[in-house]
């Protein structure tokens, strides 16, 4: 059993909350008292069926306004897999929330209302999915019950979306016709779609291959914390604690510490206090080096023969997430894995219109939810990979020095 993290993108009207409610409900992840609570509320709203959307609308403000205002996380399991859903809202002013939810997702479900087909919002969600490099996309064509389960409607939407996918370079795209409201093709394959020979949504989510999404080639390790007991018995113990971002580390590997460029050899590797000969991506470990070096939080330990770039200036796609606008020349903190450095956004090369994919050259500023290409200079060198090649070492955040708030998400090129 492993974990699939996915995001659902769509607006309230696309039936996104209903879809999530349906997945939780049909996989029996909703318990009686939770059901009783939404039944009570459903009655307050409109008589009749329970409103599955109420399950995901967590905060009171949302319940009052009837919209989702933030990313919420939901959990369910089947015997095959544990699922973590990032439920991100689809309204235009909340691009930042979808970027947030997408950053940790291996799969995106993009909801399309069968009556409306591929609309501006569908394109926007797809642009973000491609920008964040989500490996797998499911286009769930919803409300098929309202178009008489028509194969023509489905086919036309598939053809339309294939153009979107091609223009964005989306590779793994799966199309599934559903009705979240009626539960058609959600858990079980529905007999309403005699013309559809694919799988149900849940079956697809349960069986999609995930191991190949992890990079086991380019070994990357960012030091989070240095363990130095300094006790009598462990006087010389000096362990570098961190999570292996990607790749494999073995005892005896020749490594280099970045950005200082000091070379050494891995002496021992520990996991949970036990020595091991090798460790691999996503394990939290402690590394020991042969030489007694001055290594601190934020340094990277990588193989000598496979290094990331270590530079002070780079280009990045940036999603601006703050109410205060970004202007060229503004200074921020940049955090990538455990490394924190000061930086300046030197130039905004262009702004990307997420609806038309048009580039608007050299805008004066960027505002909340803008996607822009920038040139960033850091106060000291940073070791990074291109986001396209290695998501886990190419994503960085910008932090406002005065408000301390996370204001931008960078995908380094």
């Amino acid at each position: 059993m492993d974990i699939l993290r996915f995001i659902t993108a769509g607006s309230v009207d696309d039936g996104k909350s209903t879809l999530i409610g349906r997945l939780l409900y049909d996989s029996k992840s909703i318990l009686i008292d939770q059901l009783a609570a939404i039944e009570k509320q459903s009655k307050n709203k409109n008589a009749g069926n329970i409103d599955l959307a109420l399950l995901t609308d967590g905060l009171r403000a949302e319940r009052e306004q009837g919209i989702t205002i933030d990313v919420a996380y939901k959990y369910f399991s089947t015997p095959k897999r544990k699922f973590i859903i990032a439920d991100a809202p689809g309204h235009i002013q909340y691009t930042r929330n979808m970027v947030t939810g997408a950053s940790n997702s291996e799969l995106a479900i993009i909801l399309v209302d069968a009556r409306n087909g591929v609309v501006e919002q569908t394109r926007r969600h797809s642009v973000i999915a491609s920008l964040l490099n989500i490996p797998h996309i499911v286009v769930a064509i919803n409300k098929m019950d309202l178009v008489n389960y028509s194969q023509d409607v489905y086919n036309n939407i598939v053809i339309d979306y294939q153009q979107v996918a091609a223009s964005l370079g989306l590779k793994d795209v799966k199309y599934i016709p559903i009705s979240a409201l009626n539960g058609d093709n959600i858990v079980e394959k529905s007999e309403k779609f005699l013309w559809y020979d694919g799988e149900s949504l849940l079956h697809y989510l349960e069986n999609i291959q995930l191991d190949s999404d992890i990079n086991f080639i380019d070994a990357r390790f960012s030091v989070q914390y240095v363990i130095r007991p300094q006790s009598a018995q462990l006087h010389d113990y000096r362990g570098y604690a961190g999570k292996i971002i990607s790749g494999i580390y073995k005892k005896g590997d020749k490594v280099i510490v970045l950005p200082s460029c000091i070379e050494s050899v891995i002496k021992t590797i520990e996991i949970g206090g036990k020595e091991v000969n090798e460790a691999y991506a996503l394990q939290s470990v402690v590394l020991h080096l042969e030489d007694d070096l001055d290594i601190s939080r934020g340094d990277m330990i990588v193989p000598i023969n496979n290094q990331p770039k270590t530079e002070q200036e780079f280009e990045a796609m940036l999603c601006w997430m703050d109410n205060k606008p970004l202007k060229p020349g503004n200074k921020y903190f940049l955090q990538i894995n455990s490394r924190l450095v000061r930086c300046v956004v030197k130039e905004i090369e262009y702004k990307l219109d997420v609806n038309t994919l048009q580039k608007i050259d050299s805008p004066e500023k960027a505002v909340l939810n803008d996607i822009i290409k920038v040139n960033i200079k850091t106060a000291s060198p940073v070791a990074f990979d291109s986001y396209k090649n290695l998501r886990q070492n190419g994503g960085a955040i910008l932090i406002d020095e005065t408000s301390c708030v996370t204001v931008g998400a960078c995908m380094i090129e």
Partner: protein, 302 residues
């Protein structure tokens, strides 16, 4: 590549260790909130994996309401003794006296809301800039939306509308003086994940998690243990019943569930079969209103 594969518990464990080490790396004076319940006991187990053979870079912090299960308190002291780490205790009883706070009245009067005052005092006294907590997002609707690094203002308040976006596994721990961060390493775990992990790691838990006989009052479908804090009235139905606790909070606001599960396998079986959520079944305090947890969090509750 199948040999290089982490199963879901190993992934959750590694993520939690990573979050704890981020707290240790980013903050000057962190603490770990410890209640004696299974979630915070799991946190201690994860901290051992994250920091041994070094010392924890934080003390354990217990907010003692004075209404604890004696089994949980004994367990706490035994555990602290065994791992040799520092324990800080905040005493709600003392806060009530010092601040002249008004306690709830009635049979199931809870100090749940009052413990926020003690927590804020302790934060002030020890200058904690980060507190690690064992909250899980599957517990409750408001928690489902909280960040892993959740910033609180100097009054301890959570503002759900002004949360920082949290991307990849990068945690922004920058704060102003007076603010603090609540960090939740097991945000992505469910109740069942905890039990499966407890089983795999052979983590010891207080005895009240396992089925035992107890005199209980039947109160609106819930079973509440008779104790020095809760005495039965004339009309109460009292039985001696085999029960276990699914959560361990105060004796005044935690209900037991009927059970025959005397070991972890039995508990896991019962949880898989259960029809009621953890908090719905065992917390008397969450039933007060539709948004009870959200309101408490906004005023500094953890």
């Amino acid at each position: 590549m199948s040999t290089y594969h982490l199963d879901y518990l190993e992934q959750l464990e590694s993520e939690a260790i990573h979050i704890m080490r981020e707290v240790a790396g980013q903050f000057e004076r962190p603490g770990l909130l410890f209640s004696g319940g299974k979630d915070s006991i799991t946190l201690v187990h994860l901290a051992l994996k994250a920091f041994r053979p070094g010392k924890f870079p934080f003390p354990l912090v217990h907010i003692d309401t004075g209404h604890n299960f004696p089994e949980a308190l004994n367990f706490r002291d035994k555990l602290v003794n065994k791992i040799g780490e520092k324990l800080v205790v905040g005493n709600v009883e003392k806060t009530i006296k010092e601040k002249n706070l008004t306690e709830q009245k009635g049979k199931f009067a809870s100090r749940n809301a009052l413990q926020t005052y003690t927590l804020l005092d302790i934060i002030d006294e020890y200058k904690f800039d980060a507190l690690i907590g064992g909250a899980r997002r599957d517990e409750e609707k408001a928690r489902a939306k909280e960040r892993i690094f959740s910033v609180r203002d100097e009054f301890g308040q959570w503002n759900p509308k002004l949360q920082r976006p949290e991307l990849w596994n990068i945690y922004n721990g920058k704060i102003h003086k007076g603010e603090n961060v609540r960090a939740f390493p097991i945000s992505n775990w469910t109740e069942l994940d905890i039990w499966n992990y407890v089983k795999r790691e052979k983590i010891e838990l207080p005895s009240i998690y396992f089925a035992h006989e107890r005199e209980v009052i039947h109160h609106e479908g819930q079973l509440v243990s008779i104790s020095e804090f809760i005495k039965p009235d004339k009309n109460d139905i009292v039985t001696k019943t085999k029960v276990r606790y699914r959560t361990v909070g105060d004796m005044t606001c935690t209900a037991a569930v009927e059970s025959n599960a005397t070991d972890i396998d039995g508990i896991i079986k019962e949880i898989i079969a259960t029809k009621t959520s953890e908090r719905g079944e065992t917390r008397i305090d969450d039933k007060v209103s539709e948004a009870a947890m959200e309101d408490r969090k906004k005023t500094g509750y953890f």
